[in-house]
């Protein structure tokens, strides 16, 4: 899961105190009856960001989007767009377009007319509308289907129509609710790069909901991980991945081993005692940890080396037996049971061909990792 973002590394307006956010949620709460969908949420999103919302189903992602688009009013709190309170601005007056999770294509209009719908409501001259729609059709590879009605095209094609329709007006803020879910992997990758390209060309700010972590990692400048109407962590993809602030986030994004234990402060770091008779884990952390504190140690599989002899230069070693091997092509996952019963997943890149792979089931192996490979979590 590499961060492939084309945006320059220096793009980090959230770290610049002089930068004014484009969108500000200020203590926003949204209730449906007595159910709280969004719970006292505060969030800044900056212009030209590609902001991804990630979270389990029902955590409030769509609700957040709908408040930005103007379909839901917050029960409490303020939403500012470019410094202006937009809570009372109707959807058609907002410089915001939304791609609906359900697509919401007009069934009585052709693909062409669906895409042209928003443009025709603006003061764009007719021939320009035609060109713009043609451009959108090309972008989403729907040229052949321009004359068809939504019920005459496939699910993935419908999704692209919805995307094209929301892109057509080149809004200041574009809200995409699971825009690429129904596309095959290749088309999805292509479209992701198209989106990033569009974003770079037009300077549009994107807020995107996705269930696909890899997608979030690929396209997003920042990711917000939500749960139960609350933001758990908002950070760059690498921040979320490498420095999750909680077990929830570590577990939600990517594969991870979580080992619980008691901390013991030692010189230059801490030791985590997690099992009777097992060597403690050596870890470094910035957090203030006290002796005897219960902590969780999160370590990603790829940070653990699987070798036949312990690697001397690493601070942590553990001996175990291979329980299972998952072959994923570019890498192999090893599920290893340690002597103390703890199960650990480690992965190694398959830089060699399969025939020369080193280990097999039931082999005894050593796991080694450095003292900075894992994260110490207190939540």
């Amino acid at each position: 899961m590499a961060e492939l973002s084309k945006t320059p590394v220096v793009f980090a307006p959230w770290n610049d105190p002089n930068e004014k956010p484009l969108i500000q949620f200020k203590n926003v709460t949204k209730r449906f009856g007595d159910f709280t969908a969004i719970d006292n949420l505060t969030l800044d999103i900056y212009a030209k960001e590609f902001f991804a919302l990630l979270g389990p189903s029902g955590c409030g992602k769509t609700t957040l989007m709908r408040m930005l688009a103007g379909f839901e009013m917050p029960s409490e709190g303020q939403i500012l767009l470019g410094g202006q309170d937009i809570v009372k601005v109707p959807p058609n007056k907002r410089p915001v377009n939304m791609m609906f999770q359900s697509y919401a294509l007009f069934p009585h209009l052709s693909v062409f007319d669906n895409i042209a719908f928003g443009l025709r409501r603006s003061d764009m001259p007719k021939d320009q509308i035609k060109d713009r729609v043609a451009e959108m059709l090309r972008l989403t590879r729907l040229e052949k289907f321009a004359k068809r009605k939504p019920h005459q095209i496939s699910g993935g094609q419908r999704q692209r129509v919805a995307l094209a329709r929301s892109l057509a007006k080149a809004p200041k803020l574009l809200l995409l609710d699971e825009p690429l879910g129904a596309l095959d992997k290749k088309l999805r990758n292509d479209t992701q790069f198209e989106l990033m390209d569009i974003q770079e060309k037009t300077g549009t700010t994107f807020v995107i909901v996705t269930h696909d972590q890899e997608e979030a990692m690929t396209v997003a400048s920042r990711i917000a991980v939500m749960d139960n109407g609350k933001l758990i962590q908002v950070d760059t993809p690498s921040g979320i991945y490498e420095e999750p602030n909680s077990v929830y986030v570590a577990d939600f994004i990517g594969d991870v081993n979580i080992i619980e234990g008691n901390a013991k402060v030692v010189d230059g770091g801490i030791e985590i005692h997690y099992a009777e008779g097992a060597a403690p884990i050596h870890a470094k952390t910035d957090k203030h940890i006290t002796d005897g504190q219960r902590v969780s140690y999160a370590i990603r599989p790829e940070k653990i080396a699987v070798t036949s002899e312990p690697m001397a230069d690493r601070a942590n070693h553990a001996h175990g037996t291979i329980l299972d091997i998952g072959y994923l092509g570019h890498l192999s996952s090893y599920f290893v049971t340690l002597g103390n019963g703890q199960k650990v997943e480690a992965s190694m890149t398959n830089s060699r061909r399969l025939s020369r792979r080193d280990f097999t089931w039931e082999d005894n192996v050593w796991l080694s990792w450095t003292d900075t490979a894992g994260v110490v979590l207190t939540e």
Partner: protein, 354 residues
């Protein structure tokens, strides 16, 4: 499936064919003997059933498909052919009051003279007398205007019902259908009580002081329109409500999101998408209103010209069955066009729903 299985077990043996033969014989005998009223009809049904049983034995699929066609044949095509035949006959002082009648006992010559006596005289008569075509035109006018008014009244009601909260909808639906639970005639008579010179409406208006003398409303076209709109309103409301209720609110949100005002959203999304319901409702009102007879004769005046009334008068006052039949045949031919259009609309909607 259940139905066909039952049939299957019932006729698994050869008994079915024996039964079919018995039925056919009984049917033919009934028609031949012609002893009681309706023996033709019963006999026809028996024969039809015998045909069905045999057909079911030979080819099940075909037999099942044939049922609706058989139905159409027995209850629509045969009566229609009879009416057409009467319309080509001449009136007579006899029972039935037209000639010729088919005398099978005279054999081939009887058949020949029977067809020789049929002519288009009645249709020529209809074309020559302006009363009839003005009646058709006036019926069409009344049907079109009242359909339009019904639409204007029904749409907001249907819209309001569709917008109402989910728990209220069944109640509202009930209220729309409720009038059907009382007799149609009683409801029309009630309007006579309301619209008459001494009726509720006049007394109310007099009491309010809006008018000084009672208005003449009963026995005018106005009363006819009121009666028709009132009676046929549910036929318009229900199909429109059905389409509006299905309408996905996210479509309106999408329209708004793309820059529509609420009003534009209504014209560009709600209205086009409720079109199938509107069209269905219009046909459901227009088609029966064109031949409407009770409302114009009870609420209308002497100058209310509707073809249904003419038809009634030809049949019962003049006892001229042939002319009445000719009027009916032409009415049907006029209605075939909207009925076909209606069917196509329904079919298109069914396809779009898939």
């Amino acid at each position: 499936m259940r139905f066909s299985q039952t049939l299957e077990s019932a006729y698994a043996s050869k008994a079915d064919l024996v039964l079919a033969a018995l039925l056919a014989v009984a049917g033919i005998a009934l028609i031949w003997l012609n002893q009681a009223d309706g023996s033709h009809f019963t006999g026809g049904l028996l024969i039809a059933f015998a045909v069905f049983v045999t057909a079911y034995r030979i080819n099940r699929r075909l037999a099942v498909i044939a049922v609706p066609y058989l139905w159409l044949l027995v209850f629509f095509l045969v009566p229609f052919i009879i009416v057409v035949k009467i319309s080509l006959s001449d009136p007579a002082i006899a029972i039935p009051p037209y000639t010729p009648t088919l005398e099978l006992s005279e054999g081939w010559t009887g058949l020949k003279s029977f067809f020789g006596d049929l002519d288009f005289e009645n249709f020529e008569f209809l074309a020559s007398d302006p009363l009839y075509y003005t009646a058709y035109l006036s019926s069409a006018k009344i049907a079109i205007i009242s359909t339009a008014i019904t639409l204007l009244v029904a749409f907001p009601i249907a819209y309001g019902m569709a917008k109402a909260s989910e728990e209220w909808r069944p109640t509202l639906m009930m209220l729309v259908i409720l009038p059907f639970w009382t007799s149609f005639l009683i409801r029309v008579y009630a309007w006579m009580g309301i619209l008459g010179r001494e009726g509720f409406l006049n007394s109310f208006l007099l009491w309010l002081g809006i008018i000084d003398d009672p208005l003449t409303m009963l026995n005018t076209n106005f009363a006819v329109y009121v009666g028709i709109v009132y009676t046929y309103l549910p036929f318009m409301i229900l199909p429109i409500y059905a389409t509006l209720e299905k309408l996905d609110v996210s479509l309106l949100e999408a329209a708004e999101d793309l820059g529509c005002t609420r009003t534009q959203g209504f014209w560009l999304v709600t209205l086009p998408l409720s079109m199938p319901g509107i069209i269905a409702g219009c046909f459901l009102v227009f088609i029966p209103v064109l031949g409407e007879f009770v409302i114009p004769s009870l609420l209308g005046g002497s100058d209310t010209l509707m073809i249904g009334k003419i038809l009634y008068e030809e049949f019962f006052s003049n006892r001229d069955w042939p002319v009445a039949s000719a009027v009916a045949v032409i009415l049907l031919l006029i209605l075939v066009v909207p009925i076909v259009l209606f069917q196509r609309n329904q079919q298109k909607q069914a396809e779009a729903d898939q």
